[in-house]
């Protein structure tokens, strides 16, 4: 039964992990929105951290970079954002990434809004990422002031799930509060002169390298992050995690199946005289096989169910821990898919167990009943 438990557990947990990693990657691709990100030359790693891990960062560059894009061919739309951070002052308002965006030009935040509390993001209100928990009164607190939540984004499987979004007006208020408390990011009076990143969506069939060259000619001290390259890098990382899961899963399944065959062989070998008596009493070989098969089925089902329960107690309560431990996008598969994985795990274990018991009985059924009874005399 322990072997069945391990088999079912490995199959369920492995499938959920693989499914959730693929789900996370797909969601991230869908949600990226922009084809290109312009960031300050020295802040490429920080920008990647914001996107991938949600590690709060602060960097900025002159707004002239955003203004340099106006007449560049191939740029379909562009919008700028400003990144700064909150404080880790207490438990309920941990340090999160604060992102100021421009609702007039935005094409990356608005399409993700899942729950709208108010129609527009007014001055003083914010939009929170899917993983940000507001205070019990539905507000979030930064630098001593509370801000009502105007909406919540859907899950993106990116670091942006841990971010809070606001308009430039609200950013001005927060920066002023931060300055009062002794935390200076930029002078709140000059906040209109800086951006952290410019997000660009290029037209179909546009030459991205050509666009980059043209922007390089107009602005200095910048770096480009191409979404496609970022996703390719992640795919490589995801591939190695996937391989690791596959190898572990295969080893555990083989171990489980071999142990089951050994277990049934030993058990049935010890009971061969019992089978011989049953044969003498008139029970057919096929009936004995059927009875062993039923035993295998029951043991497989019980072990499979126990493994499934252990798997559920691993993947659901520790979902966030798994997500934080992996360095790749992770988004739990939808519930019907998880249920399907669970049923599949139990079904495969029952199949393995039945097959193992059947094979073990089959090897015994070749022996002559007479010799089996007389063996050892």
């Amino acid at each position: 039964m322990l072997a069945a438990l391990i088999g079912s557990y490995a199959l369920f947990v492995g499938s959920v992990l693989k499914g959730s990693l693929n789900n996370g990657m797909t969601r991230m691709q869908e949600r990226m929105g922009a084809d290109l990100m312009i960031v300050p030359e020295s802040s490429e790693v920080k920008a990647r951290n914001i996107l991938l891990t949600g590690e709060p960062e602060f960097f900025y560059m002159d707004i002239s970079v955003a203004q340099a894009l106006h007449d560049i061919e191939g740029v379909e739309c562009a919008t700028s954002q400003f990144y700064f951070t909150s404080l880790s002052s207490d438990c309920c308002s941990t340090r999160v990434q604060l992102i100021a965006y421009d609702p007039d030009t935005d094409f990356v935040i608005d399409p993700w809004i899942d729950e709208r509390i108010t129609d527009e993001v007014e001055k003083g209100s914010v939009i929170i990422g899917s993983e940000v928990t507001p205070l019990p009164d539905g507000k979030v607190k930064f630098y001593g002031s509370e801000y009502p939540v105007a909406g919540k984004l859907g899950e993106t499987a990116t670091g942006l799930d841990h971010s809070v979004f606001m308009t430039r007006d609200t950013m001005h208020e927060i920066l002023s509060d931060a300055k009062e408390k002794g935390y200076q990011f930029i002078n709140p009076e000059d906040d209109g002169a800086f951006v952290s990143t410019v997000l660009i969506r290029v037209s179909e069939n546009a030459d991205i390298t050509g666009i980059e060259k043209e922007i390089y000619g107009k602005a200095e001290g910048i770096k480009f992050i191409e979404t496609d390259k970022l996703i390719n890098d992640l795919s490589v990382k995801l591939g190695s995690v996937d391989r690791l899961i596959n190898v572990t899963l295969t080893v555990l399944l083989v171990f489980s199946f071999v142990t089951m065959i050994l277990f049934f062989s030993v058990i049935f070998h010890e009971r061969k005289k019992e089978f011989a008596i049953l044969r003498i009493l008139g029970m057919s070989s096929s009936k004995i096989c059927f009875s062993s098969l039923t035993e295998g089925l029951i043991i497989g089902a019980a072990g499979g169910a126990a493994g499934l329960l252990a798997g559920i107690l691993t993947v659901f309560p520790f979902n966030r821990l798994i997500e934080n431990s992996l360095d790749v996008p992770y988004l739990m598969s939808p519930l019907p898919v998880v249920i399907l994985y669970g049923l599949l795990g139990v079904a495969v274990t029952v199949l393995f167990s039945s097959l193992a018991s059947f094979l073990s009985t089959l090897s015994l059924s070749h022996a002559e009943t007479y010799y089996t009874m007389r063996a050892g005399e």
């Binding site: 438990c91 309920c92 941990t94 993983e131 928990t133 107690l313 309560p317 520790f318 966030r320 934080n324």
Partner: protein, 134 residues
């Protein structure tokens, strides 16, 4: 090995695990700027409850009186409930879902507490059923 001994061993092991969860297996958050957070006090309390549960488990193993073993099981079940209530209601853990105490310690303690309750209640129920039959 009789039912009481098996129950005692399982409860003692679960008590030990309860004490180890916040201190070794899923360590709670470190003090921030010299300030201890809620999870630190949860950890201290859970270590104490874990040790008491471990002792109750040992008592269940050692006692020869079935009624006394069942009584220790009831006490273990109450401890199991406390193991669950400390990080969820009584003291709590840090607010952010990303904190190690929230993502690791809390679910692990809830599972350990639930297992203590289930094992202890099954043992008590078996004792009550056998007493009725007698």
């Amino acid at each position: 090995m009789n039912k009481s001994k098996i129950t005692g061993i399982v409860i003692a092991v679960l008590g030990l695990i309860t004490a180890l969860i916040p201190t070794v297996i899923f360590k709670v958050c470190e003090a921030m700027e010299g300030k201890f957070m809620k999870c630190h006090w949860t950890s201290q309390t859970e270590v104490a409850i874990g040790i008491v549960t471990l002792v109750l488990g040992v008592l269940i193993i050692l006692t020869k009186e079935k009624a006394a073993a069942a009584a220790y099981s009831v006490a273990s079940a109450i401890n199991g409930v406390l193991v669950i209530l400390i990080p969820t209601v009584v003291i709590g853990v840090c607010g952010s879902a990303d904190m190690p105490c929230q993502s690791g310690t809390k679910p692990a303690l809830i599972i350990a507490g639930a297992l203590i309750v289930v094992v202890a209640l099954i043992h008590t129920a078996l004792y009550l059923t056998s007493k009725k039959k007698a």
